[in-house]
Amino acid sequence: MADITNQSLNEIIENVKMKKVSSTELTKAYIKNIESAKKLNAFVTTTFDQALDKAKQFDNKPNFDQLLPGIPLAVKDLFCTENTKTTAGSNILNNFIPSYESTVTKNLWDNGSFLLGKLNCDEFAMGSSNETSHYGNVINPVGDQLVPGGSSGGSSSALAADLTPATIGTDTGGSIRQPASFTGTVGLKPTYGLCSRWGIVAFASSLDQAGPMTKTIKDCAIMLESMSGFDEKDSTSINKKKEQYSKNLKGNIKGLKIGIPKEYRVDNMPKEVDELWEKGKKILKDLGAQLIDISLPHTKYALPTYYIVAPAEASSNLARYDGVRYGYRSKQGKDLIEMYEKTRSEGFGDEVKRRILIGTYVLSSGYYDAYYLKAQKVRQLIKKDFDDSFKIIDAILTPSTPSSAFKIGEKTNDPVSMYLNDIFTVPVNLAGLPALSMPAGVDKQGHPLGLQLIGKALDEQKILNIGYAFEKNCGFKNEIKKWWS
């Protein structure tokens, strides 16, 4: 049959079920793609032998009733995988082999899939371009000088280059949605608490959420259904009935009220982003949705708030990397304190150190009220903006990012300009809401751009439905030439 790897996950599943392709054939096809795509540097670790064993096991005794029957999947290297090295993109975890499996990946395997490899990411998920990884930059398949976004940059690159049929990432301030937007793919950050955080290397615990990255909305629904669910091991996991997102996917959005926030039209935004937003509004309106102008007045304070809350939580979460129980240990250091200091200095990269220092400072004695407490108060105001709006609307439509993928090295010398990339994605994390980035068009250079749909807490089905209707009527096709193989 024709190249199966450029199909959607849903199409691949159908082909497996109809026995047009075996799990082994499928796995071999992806391995071939991965081996010829080393230039993209999307993988930190591959698990081909193990994947082929699992594929063989599936083919010998197939269960086609599962959500992901015999499907090989690569995942971000932030998810702990039992007996497979997990680095979080950091030197400090360059030799860490977890003795347990993250709940989210376990859920995926329990639904019939298996691990193909671990995908590169910004170190501890701190970055918007995948340039902070200890394992090198990842290249965006859209163009050989372009970043794939971050922090889930290996995930977005691998997905867009047909190196995995779907994948998962994590999103603390936009780390799923921004890379999805940069690669013309779909990315969903679920409601805080919908997917278990257990076994995911922690960055900022009140913001971190795992979510799917896929080629289509239907695929996104299938993956979300497979990975989500209550978990006793995560104290912030929401205990609710499991939803059948893919079965309940419907494209009728007539009468839905879509909010358009005026604060998301920022200075210096490229004309194309604005035009694309207009196009998105028109498509939804033509489908019978009602557009309503709304105001989220504290939007501009979301990033400054995030850069207090996230580093504060990170400085505390990353205190565990001390070279004693696991991970890298410096060979220098004549006493215990010096061993800690050298280990952390050699083990962490510059961006991670910056954020640990910011976090340590804002939590330090005498500064707590001025920074951390202030940020928690503003976070309340940001959440209230959304709460007020959602009294009258069903979902919000915004651009996903203020620009398309930028060049490697373009923003590395100016941390604040890098942070501004997440201007449209961060507010959602602070408010704990679900948000979807869907491909919508390209800019004048032909680089993909995405639009974001934000929903009420636990309203994933609704934004998936809107996305589904949008996708059918948008006419976007991700045309990526395979220049790397």
């Binding site: 030799n95 860490f96 082999i97 003795s99 805080y192 009140s206 006793e232 104290s235 912030t236 929401i238 504290h298 501009k300 304070y301 400054p304 850069y307 207090i308 205190a319 001390d322 070279g323 004693v324 129980r325 696991y326 991970g327 240990r329 250091g333 004549k334 006493d335 215990l336 010096e338 061993m339 800690y340 200091e341 050298k342 952390r344 200095s345 150190k353 910056r354 640990i356 220092l357 910011i358 340590t360 400072y361 330090s364 407490l373 202030k374 940020a375 928690q376 108060k377 503003v378 976070r379 309340q380 105001l381 959440k383 100016d414 941390p415 604040v416 942070y419 602070l430 408010a431 704990g432």
Partner: protein, 95 residues
Amino acid sequence: MSLDKEKIKHVAKLARISVDEAKVESLTKDLNSIFKFIEQLNELNTDKVEPLTSILNQSLRSRKDEISDGKIREKILKNSPKENEEFFVVPKVVE
């Protein structure tokens, strides 16, 4: 406010990260530009706002304090940079 080099060295000490003298300068510059950005928040009056401590409408669950998956000492020690039978080993602390 601005952070000077001494302050940054102090914070690095608190965070247990040794910083190269050569890098202090650029680190100071970067952190100051980040704090300038963060301090936009001072424009807002938040005197009457309650701080948000959790975005979930539920309180944290508690569970019984009992061992659910013990007996994995060997597995855990396998990741230790320096092991000695049943212990984690660190540089000598007491003279």
